[in-house]
């Protein structure tokens, strides 16, 4: 696959919300991050540290009040199918089958007829074969997550934003899907930004882990994961990296 290396540049991002009582809540303040090439970057930090806010800004669903945010040198002005987003609980279209959920983006962009065979490819890759005609309420949580991932990956995005996509799943299912994400990433050569609470998941999947502080969200530190895939979760180096992340998180408590 020939892909231009697309970089993401976030500089001094500021995003302030107003809560129900009219008080200001600073979600992000002076947040900067630079991602080059097809990296998998993990964002980890306590609840309310602005991780999800950052994903929404990159997705173009929200605008920052200060700072700059650009992809490939172009500022982000709104949503674009080149930047995919997968929500925590899959957020599938309940009235569409697994097949039609995955095909949604192709149909919305009117390229379904030309690229129909790719739906089956993605279904096979994600291990959803045989469930094409099932509705979301008929499949397990793991399959729903895989459908949501396939729905995003089929668009061949430059950036995929994963907002705790596996947090509601059991450990075994999660491990399987983590390997599928690594596989998909290798094929797609995309930037993946993964928001997670699970340190092990971050070390297993990511090339780089950004540890963030609680409100307002700032970068506390960074841990580079220089282990080759497939990674061994019980290996000493893996555990040392987990400890390093934990240490950064602990420092601010």
């Amino acid at each position: 696959m020939v892909t231009e290396k697309i970089g993401l540049e976030a500089a001094e991002l500021l995003r302030i919300f107003e809560d129900a009582d009219g008080n200001e809540v600073v979600a992000l303040d002076g947040f900067s991050l630079s991602i080059q090439g097809s990296e998998t970057v993990g964002l980890i930090g306590p609840s309310g540290c602005g991780k999800s806010t950052f994903l929404r800004l990159v997705a173009g669903l929200d605008q920052p009040q200060g700072g700059s945010l650009s992809v490939g040198g172009q500022p982000i002005t709104g949503p674009d199918y080149h930047r995919g987003l997968v929500f925590q609980n899959a957020a599938l279209f309940e009235w569409l089958t697994v097949w039609d959920n995955i095909a949604f983006g192709l149909k919305a962009r009117k390229v379904y007829r030309q690229q129909k065979q790719r739906v089956q490819e993605l279904i096979d890759l994600m291990g959803l074969t045989g469930f094409e005609k099932s509705y979301p309420h008929q499949i397990s949580g793991g399959m729903a997550s895989r459908t949501a991932l396939a729905r995003s990956f089929i668009q061949e995005p430059d950036i995929i934003l994963l907002d705790e996509p596996l947090s509601s799943l059991d450990a075994f299912t999660r491990a399987t899907i983590q390997d599928q994400i690594i596989d998909m990433q290798r094929r797609a050569q995309a930037i993946i930004i993964l928001v997670t609470h699970d340190i092990e998941e971050a070390v297993y999947l990511c090339d780089r882990i950004i540890v963030m502080s609680a409100r307002p969200g700032r970068v506390l530190g960074e841990v580079a994961v220089d282990l080759p895939h497939p990674r061994d979760r019980t290996e000493e180096r893996f555990i040392a990296l987990r400890r390093a992340v934990m240490h950064l998180l602990g420092n601010q408590a």
């Binding site: 995919g84 987003l85 929500f87 569409l96 149909k107 509705y135 979301p136």
Partner: protein, 344 residues
Amino acid sequence: MGRPGSLDLAASPQGRRTSIKRHEQRVTSIRELFWMLLPVSGLLIALGLHYGLPNVYPLAYHPKTYGPVLIGLGAIYIALMAAACFWPALRRRLRHFSGIFFVLALTLAALDVATLKTGWLRLPFVPSPDKILSVYPDNAAQFVENFLASMKLLFTGVFLGTLAGVLSGILMGWSRIANYWISPVLKVIGPVPGVAWLPIAMVLMPSSRAAGLFLIGLALWFPLTLMISTAIRDTDVRLIESARVLGASELHILTHVAIPAAIPAMFTGMFMGLSASFGALIYAEMLGVKAGLGWYIEWSRAWGEYAKIFATIGIFIVLFFALIEILFRIRNHAMKWQKGVVRW
């Protein structure tokens, strides 16, 4: 769901339940037979009382319809029982309704005894079952004519009301400007029962038929608009954002996310509106439109022919039951994607 060989996991416990049911079906027999024969015994009691007791009220009344109808019902039931031997689903249903059928037969017998056989309940207000049933063959032409007139008015009104309700519901749900201008109309006119407008509608509309259409349409328009617009506005924001990120235009999101998400609410609105529209139909016909079953009720009342009123109500029962049932079937088909659809 529950198709043999289907792969869906969520359906499997249900599949197991039906197989247990099927097992029960095989082992029960005598108790089941007793329950299934219960309606037959009810009909026999009714027949025995009808042919065994003399007809005393009114004098010189010769019943002709009630007896044959009882025999016909019995024949239909026995035919169903025979068919049920080879059709377990039908057997379950017959078994389920047998108690109700039994009590129904006894109620008919009681009415027969209280009127024709003793005169405890007096004419013209409470006619015997034979007199009510005889209305149909004696006035068949009138019934057909008025039935068709009612159907034409009802379906035209339901069609127009649904069209208006769906359009304004979608418009209000999606556009803030439309919501600003339509919602006061909805809030002021909607809660007033449509029938209150009838005298004014009769004067302002070009014909009494048009006034009837307006009333029936209004009965549907209000709940539909309210339910659809609320549902569209309450569409899960994550679904809309997912669609947006997948490259869907605003129009595509409306037609492929917001409207499908509002379909359950649309059916709820249809049920509410349809019930209200039946009332509007009868009221409009009784007071304005000089045709239809509602008018026939009013005309029979003026002549003191209460048997005809009972007979017309009988038609309404069958008709409205069938219409609601059809709507339920359509909904269950349209919403097969939803878990645990409510049945009635």
